[in-house]
Protein backbone atom coordinates (compact mmCIF):
# COMPACT_ATOMS: atom_id res chain seq x y z
CA UNK A 1 0.00 0.00 0.00
CA UNK A 2 1.51 3.30 -1.06
CA UNK A 3 2.30 5.80 1.66
CA UNK A 4 0.21 8.61 0.22
CA UNK A 5 -2.84 6.38 0.28
CA UNK A 6 -2.86 6.22 4.05
CA UNK A 7 -5.00 8.42 6.17
CA UNK A 8 -2.62 10.48 8.26
CA UNK A 9 -3.18 10.07 11.95
CA UNK A 10 -3.63 13.32 13.75
CA UNK A 11 -4.03 12.13 17.30
CA UNK A 12 -2.89 14.64 19.88
CA UNK A 13 -2.53 17.67 17.67
CA UNK A 14 -4.59 20.69 18.52
CA UNK A 15 -7.98 20.03 17.15
CA UNK A 16 -11.48 21.15 17.54
CA UNK A 17 -14.56 19.59 16.15
CA UNK A 18 -15.05 22.63 13.97
CA UNK A 19 -11.47 22.63 12.78
CA UNK A 20 -11.67 18.99 11.85
CA UNK A 21 -14.21 19.73 9.15
CA UNK A 22 -13.46 23.28 8.09
CA UNK A 23 -13.09 26.72 9.49
CA UNK A 24 -16.59 27.67 10.36
CA UNK A 25 -17.26 30.43 7.87
CA UNK A 26 -19.97 32.25 6.04
CA UNK A 27 -19.41 30.19 2.94
CA UNK A 28 -19.98 26.83 4.59
CA UNK A 29 -23.11 28.22 6.21
CA UNK A 30 -24.56 29.44 2.95
CA UNK A 31 -23.46 26.70 0.58
CA UNK A 32 -24.12 23.79 2.93
CA UNK A 33 -22.24 20.55 2.94
CA UNK A 34 -23.83 19.23 -0.23
CA UNK A 35 -25.02 21.16 -3.29
CA UNK A 36 -28.45 19.62 -2.83
CA UNK A 37 -28.88 20.73 0.77
CA UNK A 38 -29.97 24.29 0.11
CA UNK A 39 -32.02 23.09 -2.82
CA UNK A 40 -33.95 20.65 -0.66
CA UNK A 41 -34.68 23.33 1.90
CA UNK A 42 -35.93 25.84 -0.63
CA UNK A 43 -37.78 23.46 -2.97
CA UNK A 44 -41.09 23.61 -1.12
CA UNK A 45 -41.02 27.38 -0.83
CA UNK A 46 -40.18 27.80 -4.51
CA UNK A 47 -43.01 25.50 -5.47
CA UNK A 48 -45.46 27.47 -3.36
CA UNK A 49 -44.30 30.73 -4.85
CA UNK A 50 -44.75 29.37 -8.35
CA UNK A 51 -48.25 28.11 -7.55
CA UNK A 52 -49.07 31.52 -6.14
CA UNK A 53 -47.80 33.28 -9.24
CA UNK A 54 -49.92 31.02 -11.44
CA UNK A 55 -52.97 31.86 -9.35
CA UNK A 56 -52.20 35.57 -9.58
CA UNK A 57 -51.95 35.35 -13.34
CA UNK A 58 -55.14 33.36 -13.64
CA UNK A 59 -57.47 34.89 -11.07
CA UNK A 60 -55.89 38.21 -10.09
CA UNK A 61 -54.21 39.15 -6.82
CA UNK A 62 -57.29 38.95 -4.63
CA UNK A 63 -57.72 35.18 -4.85
CA UNK A 64 -54.32 34.07 -3.56
CA UNK A 65 -54.56 36.72 -0.87
CA UNK A 66 -57.82 35.21 0.31
CA UNK A 67 -56.13 31.82 0.33
CA UNK A 68 -53.33 33.26 2.46
CA UNK A 69 -55.89 34.45 4.99
CA UNK A 70 -57.41 30.98 5.06
CA UNK A 71 -54.01 29.52 5.62
CA UNK A 72 -53.17 31.88 8.42
CA UNK A 73 -56.46 31.22 10.16
CA UNK A 74 -56.14 27.47 9.81
CA UNK A 75 -52.55 27.48 10.99
CA UNK A 76 -53.73 28.90 14.32
CA UNK A 77 -55.59 25.69 15.18
CA UNK A 78 -52.82 24.07 17.11
CA UNK A 79 -52.37 21.96 20.17
CA UNK A 80 -50.47 23.47 23.04
CA UNK A 81 -46.80 22.70 22.50
CA UNK A 82 -45.88 19.47 24.14
CA UNK A 83 -45.60 15.78 23.47
CA UNK A 84 -48.17 15.57 20.68
CA UNK A 85 -47.49 17.66 17.60
CA UNK A 86 -50.37 19.50 15.96
CA UNK A 87 -51.93 17.55 13.13
CA UNK A 88 -52.76 20.62 11.01
CA UNK A 89 -55.54 18.76 9.22
CA UNK A 90 -57.34 21.89 8.04
CA UNK A 91 -54.21 23.54 6.75
CA UNK A 92 -53.14 20.38 4.97
CA UNK A 93 -56.53 20.08 3.34
CA UNK A 94 -56.33 23.64 2.02
CA UNK A 95 -52.76 23.40 0.75
CA UNK A 96 -53.36 19.98 -0.76
CA UNK A 97 -50.49 18.40 1.17
CA UNK A 98 -52.97 15.99 2.71
CA UNK A 99 -52.79 13.80 -0.37
CA UNK A 100 -49.09 14.31 -0.87
CA UNK A 101 -46.57 11.67 -0.01
CA UNK A 102 -42.84 12.06 -0.27
CA UNK A 103 -39.53 11.17 1.29
CA UNK A 104 -40.07 13.82 3.96
CA UNK A 105 -42.87 11.71 5.41
CA UNK A 106 -40.84 8.65 6.20
CA UNK A 107 -37.16 9.51 5.96
CA UNK A 108 -35.46 11.18 8.88
CA UNK A 109 -38.74 11.92 10.66
CA UNK A 110 -37.95 14.25 13.58
CA UNK A 111 -40.51 12.47 15.75
CA UNK A 112 -38.50 9.27 15.44
CA UNK A 113 -35.15 10.95 15.87
CA UNK A 114 -32.97 9.61 18.66
CA UNK A 115 -31.92 13.16 19.47
CA UNK A 116 -35.53 14.19 19.95
CA UNK A 117 -36.04 16.64 22.78
CA UNK A 118 -39.50 16.87 24.27
CA UNK A 119 -40.76 20.39 23.80
CA UNK A 120 -40.81 22.73 26.74
CA UNK A 121 -44.43 23.76 27.23
CA UNK A 122 -43.63 27.04 28.96
CA UNK A 123 -41.14 28.16 26.34
CA UNK A 124 -43.39 27.00 23.52
CA UNK A 125 -46.32 29.06 24.75
CA UNK A 126 -44.08 32.10 25.18
CA UNK A 127 -42.98 31.71 21.59
CA UNK A 128 -46.53 31.37 20.38
CA UNK A 129 -47.78 34.53 22.03
CA UNK A 130 -44.69 36.43 21.01
CA UNK A 131 -42.92 36.84 24.35
CA UNK A 132 -39.91 34.81 23.45
CA UNK A 133 -37.87 33.97 20.39
CA UNK A 134 -37.09 30.66 18.78
CA UNK A 135 -38.98 27.84 17.17
CA UNK A 136 -41.97 26.48 19.04
CA UNK A 137 -40.90 22.94 18.22
CA UNK A 138 -37.18 22.60 18.84
CA UNK A 139 -37.12 18.96 17.87
CA UNK A 140 -33.36 18.58 17.61
CA UNK A 141 -30.70 19.17 20.16
Amino acid sequence: MAAQNKISHQVGEFQNDVFRFDIHGVKSDIVGSHPLETLCQSAKQREEEMKRRILVNTYGTAFPMKMDFDRQILSRFQRPTGAIPSSMLGLEAVTGSLEDFGFEHYLNDPRESESFRPADLHHGMEVRIGLSKGPAHPSFI
Binding site: R20, S33, D68, D100, G102
Partner: protein, 273 residues
Protein backbone atom coordinates in the same frame (compact mmCIF):
# COMPACT_ATOMS: atom_id res chain seq x y z
CA UNK B 1 -45.44 33.49 1.28
CA UNK B 2 -46.15 36.04 3.93
CA UNK B 3 -44.13 35.42 7.07
CA UNK B 4 -47.13 34.76 9.26
CA UNK B 5 -46.91 32.47 12.24
CA UNK B 6 -47.30 29.27 10.27
CA UNK B 7 -44.99 27.14 12.36
CA UNK B 8 -45.93 23.66 11.26
CA UNK B 9 -43.99 20.80 12.82
CA UNK B 10 -40.73 20.25 11.01
CA UNK B 11 -40.57 17.50 8.47
CA UNK B 12 -37.92 14.95 7.60
CA UNK B 13 -36.20 14.39 4.31
CA UNK B 14 -32.67 13.56 3.27
CA UNK B 15 -30.09 14.03 5.97
CA UNK B 16 -26.83 15.70 5.04
CA UNK B 17 -25.09 15.18 8.40
CA UNK B 18 -22.27 13.05 7.09
CA UNK B 19 -21.57 14.93 3.85
CA UNK B 20 -18.87 17.11 5.32
CA UNK B 21 -17.09 14.21 6.96
CA UNK B 22 -17.27 12.17 3.79
CA UNK B 23 -15.94 15.08 1.75
CA UNK B 24 -13.09 15.40 4.20
CA UNK B 25 -12.28 11.71 3.79
CA UNK B 26 -12.44 12.02 0.02
CA UNK B 27 -10.04 14.97 0.11
CA UNK B 28 -7.61 12.88 2.13
CA UNK B 29 -7.43 10.45 -0.78
CA UNK B 30 -9.76 7.76 0.46
CA UNK B 31 -11.93 6.13 -2.18
CA UNK B 32 -15.58 6.21 -1.29
CA UNK B 33 -17.42 2.96 -2.01
CA UNK B 34 -19.43 2.56 -5.18
CA UNK B 35 -23.15 1.96 -4.98
CA UNK B 36 -25.03 -0.99 -6.35
CA UNK B 37 -26.02 -0.38 -9.95
CA UNK B 38 -28.53 -2.21 -11.98
CA UNK B 39 -26.30 -1.78 -15.09
CA UNK B 40 -29.14 -2.82 -17.16
CA UNK B 41 -31.07 -3.48 -20.31
CA UNK B 42 -34.65 -2.34 -19.87
CA UNK B 43 -37.10 -2.01 -22.75
CA UNK B 44 -40.71 -1.33 -23.49
CA UNK B 45 -42.94 -1.30 -26.57
CA UNK B 46 -46.52 -0.62 -27.50
CA UNK B 47 -48.33 -3.46 -29.24
CA UNK B 48 -51.84 -3.63 -30.67
CA UNK B 49 -53.71 -3.79 -27.36
CA UNK B 50 -51.31 -2.59 -24.71
CA UNK B 51 -47.76 -2.23 -23.49
CA UNK B 52 -45.00 -4.79 -22.94
CA UNK B 53 -42.10 -4.06 -20.59
CA UNK B 54 -38.96 -6.15 -20.34
CA UNK B 55 -35.81 -6.26 -18.20
CA UNK B 56 -32.77 -8.39 -17.51
CA UNK B 57 -32.06 -9.53 -13.93
CA UNK B 58 -28.42 -8.71 -13.16
CA UNK B 59 -27.29 -6.27 -10.46
CA UNK B 60 -23.65 -5.25 -10.35
CA UNK B 61 -21.36 -3.50 -7.91
CA UNK B 62 -18.36 -2.47 -9.97
CA UNK B 63 -17.25 -5.63 -11.80
CA UNK B 64 -18.91 -7.98 -9.29
CA UNK B 65 -22.31 -9.49 -10.04
CA UNK B 66 -24.03 -9.13 -6.69
CA UNK B 67 -27.47 -10.37 -7.64
CA UNK B 68 -28.09 -12.84 -10.40
CA UNK B 69 -31.84 -12.66 -10.30
CA UNK B 70 -33.06 -9.26 -9.16
CA UNK B 71 -36.37 -7.64 -10.03
CA UNK B 72 -36.18 -4.51 -12.15
CA UNK B 73 -39.81 -4.17 -13.18
CA UNK B 74 -41.42 -2.27 -10.33
CA UNK B 75 -45.10 -2.04 -9.48
CA UNK B 76 -46.50 1.49 -9.71
CA UNK B 77 -50.26 0.91 -9.90
CA UNK B 78 -52.40 -2.08 -10.93
CA UNK B 79 -52.31 -0.81 -14.51
CA UNK B 80 -48.87 0.81 -14.51
CA UNK B 81 -45.42 -0.74 -14.18
CA UNK B 82 -41.99 0.83 -14.36
CA UNK B 83 -38.54 -0.54 -15.27
CA UNK B 84 -35.59 1.04 -13.48
CA UNK B 85 -31.95 1.44 -14.45
CA UNK B 86 -29.16 3.28 -12.65
CA UNK B 87 -28.34 3.24 -8.94
CA UNK B 88 -30.43 0.42 -7.48
CA UNK B 89 -31.35 2.24 -4.26
CA UNK B 90 -32.55 5.29 -6.18
CA UNK B 91 -34.73 3.42 -8.65
CA UNK B 92 -36.30 1.43 -5.85
CA UNK B 93 -36.88 4.37 -3.53
CA UNK B 94 -38.29 6.59 -6.26
CA UNK B 95 -40.67 4.00 -7.70
CA UNK B 96 -41.85 2.90 -4.23
CA UNK B 97 -42.48 6.47 -3.18
CA UNK B 98 -44.39 7.35 -6.34
CA UNK B 99 -46.45 4.16 -6.20
CA UNK B 100 -47.51 5.09 -2.65
CA UNK B 101 -48.37 8.55 -3.87
CA UNK B 102 -50.49 7.07 -6.67
CA UNK B 103 -52.28 4.79 -4.21
CA UNK B 104 -53.06 7.79 -2.01
CA UNK B 105 -54.31 9.62 -5.07
CA UNK B 106 -56.54 6.68 -6.00
CA UNK B 107 -58.04 6.66 -2.51
CA UNK B 108 -58.72 10.36 -2.93
CA UNK B 109 -60.26 10.26 -6.40
CA UNK B 110 -61.60 6.72 -6.53
CA UNK B 111 -60.40 6.33 -10.10
CA UNK B 112 -57.77 4.34 -11.90
CA UNK B 113 -54.38 6.07 -11.99
CA UNK B 114 -53.28 7.57 -15.27
CA UNK B 115 -49.85 7.02 -16.72
CA UNK B 116 -49.28 10.76 -17.13
CA UNK B 117 -49.87 11.25 -13.40
CA UNK B 118 -47.12 8.78 -12.62
CA UNK B 119 -44.94 10.42 -15.26
CA UNK B 120 -45.41 13.89 -13.81
CA UNK B 121 -44.74 12.76 -10.26
CA UNK B 122 -41.56 10.96 -11.32
CA UNK B 123 -40.17 13.75 -13.47
CA UNK B 124 -41.02 16.39 -10.87
CA UNK B 125 -39.11 14.44 -8.24
CA UNK B 126 -36.12 13.74 -10.46
CA UNK B 127 -35.94 17.32 -11.73
CA UNK B 128 -36.01 18.62 -8.15
CA UNK B 129 -32.89 16.60 -7.36
CA UNK B 130 -31.04 17.84 -10.46
CA UNK B 131 -29.77 14.43 -11.53
CA UNK B 132 -28.29 13.53 -8.14
CA UNK B 133 -30.95 10.85 -7.84
CA UNK B 134 -29.68 8.53 -10.52
CA UNK B 135 -32.73 6.77 -11.87
CA UNK B 136 -33.40 6.16 -15.56
CA UNK B 137 -36.86 4.74 -16.00
CA UNK B 138 -39.11 3.20 -18.63
CA UNK B 139 -42.70 3.76 -17.58
CA UNK B 140 -45.52 1.88 -19.26
CA UNK B 141 -49.20 1.41 -18.61
CA UNK B 142 -52.71 1.34 -19.98
CA UNK B 143 -55.33 3.75 -18.68
CA UNK B 144 -58.63 5.19 -19.87
CA UNK B 145 -56.81 7.08 -22.63
CA UNK B 146 -55.09 4.00 -24.04
CA UNK B 147 -51.60 2.52 -23.83
CA UNK B 148 -48.67 4.82 -23.00
CA UNK B 149 -44.93 4.35 -22.92
CA UNK B 150 -42.52 6.94 -21.55
CA UNK B 151 -38.84 7.10 -20.77
CA UNK B 152 -37.57 9.32 -17.96
CA UNK B 153 -33.96 10.42 -17.73
CA UNK B 154 -32.18 11.05 -14.40
CA UNK B 155 -32.39 14.82 -14.83
CA UNK B 156 -36.14 14.74 -15.29
CA UNK B 157 -36.56 15.00 -19.04
CA UNK B 158 -39.01 12.61 -20.62
CA UNK B 159 -39.84 11.05 -23.96
CA UNK B 160 -43.04 9.52 -25.26
CA UNK B 161 -42.28 6.74 -27.69
CA UNK B 162 -43.81 3.66 -29.33
CA UNK B 163 -40.72 1.65 -28.33
CA UNK B 164 -37.99 2.58 -25.86
CA UNK B 165 -34.81 1.22 -24.32
CA UNK B 166 -32.69 2.36 -21.37
CA UNK B 167 -29.62 1.34 -19.43
CA UNK B 168 -26.17 0.20 -20.43
CA UNK B 169 -27.55 -2.36 -22.88
CA UNK B 170 -29.92 0.12 -24.51
CA UNK B 171 -27.97 0.27 -27.77
CA UNK B 172 -27.99 -3.49 -28.23
CA UNK B 173 -31.70 -3.64 -27.45
CA UNK B 174 -32.53 -0.65 -29.65
CA UNK B 175 -30.82 -2.38 -32.58
CA UNK B 176 -33.35 -5.20 -32.35
CA UNK B 177 -36.27 -2.80 -32.04
CA UNK B 178 -35.13 -0.64 -34.95
CA UNK B 179 -34.84 -3.63 -37.25
CA UNK B 180 -37.99 -5.52 -36.25
CA UNK B 181 -40.55 -3.16 -34.71
CA UNK B 182 -43.70 -2.38 -36.64
CA UNK B 183 -47.04 -0.96 -35.66
CA UNK B 184 -49.84 -3.31 -34.66
CA UNK B 185 -47.78 -6.21 -33.32
CA UNK B 186 -49.75 -9.07 -31.79
CA UNK B 187 -49.13 -10.04 -28.18
CA UNK B 188 -46.95 -13.06 -29.04
CA UNK B 189 -44.94 -11.09 -31.61
CA UNK B 190 -44.53 -8.30 -29.08
CA UNK B 191 -43.29 -10.59 -26.32
CA UNK B 192 -40.92 -12.28 -28.76
CA UNK B 193 -39.48 -8.94 -29.84
CA UNK B 194 -39.03 -7.79 -26.23
CA UNK B 195 -37.31 -11.08 -25.38
CA UNK B 196 -35.04 -10.69 -28.43
CA UNK B 197 -34.13 -7.15 -27.38
CA UNK B 198 -33.37 -8.15 -23.78
CA UNK B 199 -31.38 -11.19 -24.93
CA UNK B 200 -29.37 -8.94 -27.22
CA UNK B 201 -28.59 -6.82 -24.16
CA UNK B 202 -27.79 -9.85 -22.02
CA UNK B 203 -25.35 -11.31 -24.51
CA UNK B 204 -23.73 -8.13 -25.86
CA UNK B 205 -23.59 -5.91 -22.78
CA UNK B 206 -21.58 -7.02 -19.76
CA UNK B 207 -23.65 -4.90 -17.38
CA UNK B 208 -26.75 -6.96 -18.20
CA UNK B 209 -27.18 -10.66 -17.76
CA UNK B 210 -29.05 -13.68 -16.38
CA UNK B 211 -32.78 -13.99 -17.08
CA UNK B 212 -35.54 -12.16 -18.90
CA UNK B 213 -38.48 -10.62 -17.03
CA UNK B 214 -41.51 -9.54 -19.06
CA UNK B 215 -44.61 -7.63 -18.06
CA UNK B 216 -47.60 -7.41 -20.40
CA UNK B 217 -50.20 -4.77 -19.60
CA UNK B 218 -53.46 -4.64 -21.51
CA UNK B 219 -56.76 -2.88 -20.81
CA UNK B 220 -57.94 -4.11 -17.43
CA UNK B 221 -55.44 -6.94 -17.30
CA UNK B 222 -51.75 -7.49 -16.60
CA UNK B 223 -49.41 -10.42 -16.76
CA UNK B 224 -46.11 -10.30 -14.90
CA UNK B 225 -43.93 -13.05 -16.38
CA UNK B 226 -41.10 -13.25 -13.84
CA UNK B 227 -38.16 -15.20 -15.31
CA UNK B 228 -39.99 -15.65 -18.61
CA UNK B 229 -36.82 -17.00 -20.19
CA UNK B 230 -33.78 -18.49 -18.47
CA UNK B 231 -31.06 -18.37 -21.13
CA UNK B 232 -28.19 -18.75 -18.66
CA UNK B 233 -28.89 -21.75 -16.44
CA UNK B 234 -26.23 -22.86 -13.98
CA UNK B 235 -24.21 -25.71 -15.44
CA UNK B 236 -21.58 -26.34 -12.80
CA UNK B 237 -23.59 -27.88 -9.98
CA UNK B 238 -21.99 -30.77 -8.11
CA UNK B 239 -24.83 -33.28 -7.78
CA UNK B 240 -23.62 -34.62 -4.43
CA UNK B 241 -22.60 -31.26 -3.06
CA UNK B 242 -19.55 -30.78 -0.91
CA UNK B 243 -19.05 -32.68 2.31
CA UNK B 244 -16.37 -31.90 4.82
CA UNK B 245 -14.81 -34.92 6.45
CA UNK B 246 -12.58 -32.90 8.77
CA UNK B 247 -14.73 -30.72 10.97
CA UNK B 248 -13.94 -27.08 11.67
CA UNK B 249 -12.20 -26.46 14.96
CA UNK B 250 -14.61 -24.88 17.41
CA UNK B 251 -13.21 -22.96 20.37
CA UNK B 252 -16.44 -22.24 22.17
CA UNK B 253 -20.09 -23.17 21.83
CA UNK B 254 -22.92 -21.40 23.52
CA UNK B 255 -26.46 -22.66 23.12
CA UNK B 256 -29.37 -20.45 24.09
CA UNK B 257 -32.73 -22.20 24.01
CA UNK B 258 -35.50 -19.97 22.72
CA UNK B 259 -38.51 -19.39 24.84
CA UNK B 260 -41.58 -21.31 23.83
CA UNK B 261 -43.88 -18.84 22.16
CA UNK B 262 -47.19 -18.85 24.00
CA UNK B 263 -50.28 -18.24 21.95
CA UNK B 264 -53.12 -16.60 23.77
CA UNK B 265 -56.52 -17.47 22.37
CA UNK B 266 -59.00 -14.85 23.36
CA UNK B 267 -62.69 -15.35 23.82
CA UNK B 268 -62.42 -19.06 24.63
CA UNK B 269 -64.94 -20.60 27.01
CA UNK B 270 -62.43 -22.76 28.83
CA UNK B 271 -63.75 -22.91 32.37
CA UNK B 272 -67.22 -24.06 31.50
CA UNK B 273 -68.47 -27.11 33.34
Amino acid sequence: MSNSAIDVPSRGGFSFDLCRRNDMLAKKGVNLPSFRKTGTTIVGLIFQDGVILGADTRATEGPIVCDKNCEKIHYMAPNIYCCGAGTAADTEAVTDMVSSQLQLHRYHTGRESRVVTALTLLKKHLFNYQGYVQAALVLGGVDCTGPHLHTIYPHGSTDTLPFATMGSGSLAAMAMFESKYKEGLTKDEGIQLVVDAICSGIFNDLGSGSNVDVCVITKGHKEYLRNHLLPNPRTFVNAKGYSFPKKTEVLLTKITPLRERVEVVEGGDAMEE
